[in-house]
Symmetry: C3
Subunit: 223 residues, 3 copies
């Protein structure tokens, strides 16, 4: 029988791979070189988990101690190097891989915080931080306005939903490999649907509107 820790490790590594691809794709768009592609893949893929492990404060981050975490960024940089010229739909691909990483990381981050004995609110916060942290570091490092703050998209809310559901199901004793997949599916679908259909939340000040849009909140299709 497969242990829970092994499942968690694999979910985490798949999330690492998804974010690594998003980093290499951004490196390609920014015309970085191949070494820069590996580095930006590593920052995107491992940054959220490193912040999580530093906050939990229980020894060196797993990204440094377990060499398995280095394989996904290398693989991602190679895939983008060899395959990207034939798959040019850059923004869509980046968003889909980023959403996959977000869906897995808000779950694994929350679980690691719970395992470390943190309270439910802290576990949710840390799950969200793990989910959005790598993408935030990726965008800051590449000198872009972070996707997290792009007002045309809903990005942090799906992470909150995922971290909240994980914490809830855990404390109800209902968390399992199956429910983890359901949560990941919900988060991924929420994020991608919001992106495709142009859902958004109101601006930071009541009564202000987006430039070039006349619509209300949570409505309208992406132009």
């Amino acid at each position: 029988m497969i242990s829970f820790d092994i499942v968690l490790l694999w979910l985490d590594l798949i999330g690492v791979f998804f974010f690594a691809v998003s980093g290499s794709l951004l490196a390609a768009r920014k015309q970085f070189d191949f070494v820069g592609s590996i580095l930006l893949a590593s920052i995107a893929a491992l940054g959220g988990g490193v912040i999580r492990d530093i906050v939990i404060n229980a020894g060196p981050p797993i990204a440094f101690t377990n060499p398995a975490y280095l394989a996904p960024p290398l693989l991602a940089a190679l895939l983008v190097y060899y395959l990207f010229s034939s798959v040019q739909r850059f923004t869509s691909l980046l968003t889909l891989f980023d959403a996959g990483g977000l869906a897995l990381f808000c779950i694994t981050g929350t679980l690691k915080a719970i395992s470390a004995g943190m309270n439910p609110v802290a576990a949710i916060l840390l799950g969200v931080t793990t989910g959005v942290g790598g993408g935030l570091l990726r965008d800051i490092t590449a000198n872009e306005i972070p996707t997290l703050f792009n007002n045309r998209d809903i990005y942090a809310l799906p992470a909150f939903v995922g971290a909240g559901l994980t914490t809830l199901l855990w404390h109800l004793g209902l968390f399992s490999g199956l429910t983890a997949c359901v949560i990941a599916g919900v988060v991924f679908t929420f994020r991608v649907t919001a992106w495709r259909r142009g859902w958004y939340v109101p601006l930071a000040v009541r009564g202000w509107h987006r430039a070039g849009t006349g619509g209300g909140a949570i409505s309208g299709a992406r132009d």
Copy 2:
């Protein structure tokens, strides 16, 4: 009788609120949405303390473990959402709230470092880091040149004064709620006066002058 820890917690929470408002105001100016406003408020408000707690290395940062620290960013984002359209003096407000946070954080950051057993120099450094860290992360995240490096303003010096006075009075046995308020007043007044009167320090190279100004150092009024 109110314990010293309670006073310290409240001073810290008020500082958190001040920086949170500065974050939400910047989110408003950058046209971020309401969720982005909460997130930038959280980064500005909690970033300095999280860095401080990670450096002290004595368990997870308090911003993650004590849910009370989440209230100020939510409150700040709501206040800016409902009230800002009627109070449009953006830059002044942001600078005043930022100065309030700076004044309180350089004190509470220094005290936490002293409590953790760090030496006086480390306590001053950590107080300054706590004071300027949140604003620095806020500006970097929002892709702005950090206020800390804006050469028209004196920003870090007041934090050094506050952290230095706190360390000095503590080691003389004169630190109390009253002297804490005096220090906060000195730091706030120094920062705001420097901003209003356009005080500045020389540029990084001797003999170089600011574009468009002919004046010497620490002189001249804001145009």
Copy 3:
């Protein structure tokens, strides 16, 4: 007889000084003021080591606890303030000092990781992180595209070579003050030669070329 720890401390402090000068030079170019020059020197000089110590997670970072680490940034800011107007070759100087810091930090960072009991792969990663971290934080803080991702230069590879050689020689029992100097010389020479001769690695996507260049990889002189 001089102990190994003393040699390591001095190598580290000299690396700190080199990166501090690079920070003050960038502050000069960005027209920051003298306080900003001290702060950017500190971020460039101490940032990599602070990240390293936080990742190792064995107490507060040495940059906070040992006041000796504050001297190099102050000295660097003073030197740039008084001497820079007569030495105007900005980019060359910054690159040379940055390369010196890189050469020393990838060695000392690796050694500290080994001393902390981390595995060889983690030691190499942490050496590279220490070497490139300060410069990365310096460039992000100053709102520049990081040198690390500048596709005209080879920057991370020399750090990998230095960290790899340090780990290898250590485990072979051949690491000494002499071999440390040899490694530092190799890293510095590799980095500076790559910069002067315009060596580069391929872009992140196969078949894509740099704007304005027709050449292959690792060839051609800087125009």
